[in-house]
Every structure is written in structure tokens, then in C-alpha cells.
Symmetry: C2
Subunit: 166 residues, 2 copies
């Protein structure tokens, strides 16, 4: 149910979150690390850079960088930036009698979409960067993880993330 | 997140569930009632007839008919018959270290897919046929609903549906 675009965007964002301390990373290097076709990824990175999720810098030493704090950024933010979850707000058959209240079928489908949104909204990118009970994202060796304190000392991992930075 | 194929298949199944007492319905009539392009629907109906969900009858007076009880048939059954929910059982990057345990990102995406499965598994087609608090599926007038007792007197609406007929 998650598109290839969503999968690739999340890989890129998690990669950039783990390398946030090293400055901009060029698109080709991200493509290699995330196993995404370079031209496909370039389009996704441009889309993400049009939002508050990534920033981009042109020229020598340029590339893409996480613009948001991984504590404030959710999986849902990334999903909605590239391939939004389309809730069923209106009757897909445009039936006038279903304008204000969906039929049982569309109501139930929409309920399940709402549950997905809820789960992904409460999942921060920080949580995706490291979990001691799970293997390292993208198969990277552990030493490549920037220390959380170097990324954002105001919001160490495990804190709520709702705290506003200093 | 639900494909057009899923949407169309569910419309057709709910329509046939509501007309179960009238015998086989031809594909063209279902297409008109469900507002689905006839050629697209024909393919979906064939897919559903290859499962235990629909039966088909050729020739004059032929067409498609619900083969399962609407109490035993879930939305998930229909979804999985035409465009299955693909849980993330293996690392999409084929990383050897992620074979047995997914990384946090894929684990969370899979968790949300599991929630969708759970919601749709507990949603019977009977529940989609009629809900007094919601408009009639497909905009049909209420009188067209076959009485539940005429469809399957062994499993009236509101029963658990886990009871085996007979």
C-alpha cells in the first residue's frame, strides 16, 4: 500500500537524518547508500526540498540536508510530502446523498486510512534512526550514526520530541 | 492507498451482496450500478470468480453472483483477492542483517499495514450492505435491499458471522 516513492523518500530522509552532522550530501551518494535509482531519487529529493523537510545547496560541496529536527519530523510528514495519504472525504461516486455522510463501505476504508495516519504521525524520524533491538537502517555500520548530541543536543533520543527546541 | 481496483471490486461485491436473492447479474448491469468502466470491471469480476467470493454462470440468464455469505466475507478477503496488501516480511533492500528483524522504519510501516489488515478483516460485507446511520451503498433506494432473511436465514445481520452455516 506504500508506493515506491514513499519507500525511497523515507530511505533518503533516514539516511540524511543519520548524517545530519556532516553537512549537505550529494544526490549520487544518497542514491548509492539507499539503493535508489539516481534519477528517480533526484526527483524525490527535489520534492522534499520544496517542503520544510530538506534543504538543498547548489555547487561544490552542495547537496541535500535535513532541514527539520528528526524529533519533530514524522513518517507521515515525509509520506505526505511525496505521495499523500488520500483520506476519503467525499463520496467517490459523487452521490449527492453521500455528500455529508459516507456509506458504510467508504466510511470503513477511511477509518483504516485514519489509523495509518495516526500510526505514522506518532512515528518520528529520530525513532527510525536507531533502535537497539533492531538492525541499523540501510545496513550502515553503527559508527556512522552521528551522536544525537551532535545533531541536536536539546532533544536527545528518547525524549518526547514535543518539547520546543531552546 | 487503496487502488482503484480495490474500490471497484468492493463496489461490485457490495452490489452483488445486496442483490444476492435475485440470482446472477450480468456484468454490464453491475458496471452501470457501480459506475465502473465495463471492461475494467469485467476483468475484476473474473478475478473474483476465480476465488470463493463470486460464482459465474455463462449464457442466457447468466452473470455473477455472490458465492460466499456476506457474514463470512470481509473487506480484507475482497482486497486480497484483487490487489493484496503486501506486508513487509522481508527487507526491501535485501540486506542480510535485516533478514530476520526489520529495521525500525520498515517495522513501523509494516505495523501500520497490519492495522489496516486487522480493521478490514473484522469488517464484513454484511456490515457494508446496510447501516441505519449512513446512506445506502451505491445510492440505491432502500427497497432494493434483499431482506437479510431471504439471503441467508442462518446468519441474520448482527450475528458474529463466525458461525458455520448449517
Amino acid at each position: 500500500m506504500f508506493s515506491q516513492t514513499v519507500e525511497y523518500a523515507l530511505r533518503a530522509v533516514v539516511y540524511l537524518a543519520r548524517h545530519q552532522a556532516t553537512g549537505p550530501v550529494d544526490s549520487q551518494r544518497i542514491a548509492e547508500a539507499t539503493q535508489v535509482p539516481a534519477s528517480y531519487l533526484a526527483k524525490i529529493l527535489q520534492d522534499l526540498a520544496r517542503t520544510d523537510i530538506l534543504s538543498s545547496k547548489r555547487g561544490v560541496g552542495g547537496g541535500f540536508q535535513l532541514a527539520a529536527s528528526p524529533d519533530d519530523l514524522s513518517i507521515l510528514d515525509v509520506v505526505n510530502a511525496v505521495d499523500p495519504i488520500r483520506r476519503i472525504n467525499q463520496c467517490p461516486l459523487s452521490l449527492p446523498a453521500h455528500c455529508e455522510t459516507l456509506c458504510p463501505m467508504h466510511a470503513r476504508l477511511d477509518e483504516s486510512l485514519g489509523q495509518v495516519e495516526k500510526t505514522l504521525r506518532r512515528s518520528t524520524i529520530r525513532e527510525m534512526m536507531f533502535d537497539p533491538t533492531r538492525p541499523t537502517p540501510l545496513g550502515e555500520p553503527e559508527p556512522s550514526i552521528p551522536e544525537a548530541s551532535a545533531v541536536d543536543s536539546r532533544d536527545p533520543p528518547g525524549t518526547d520530541g514535543d518539547q520546543q527546541p531552546g
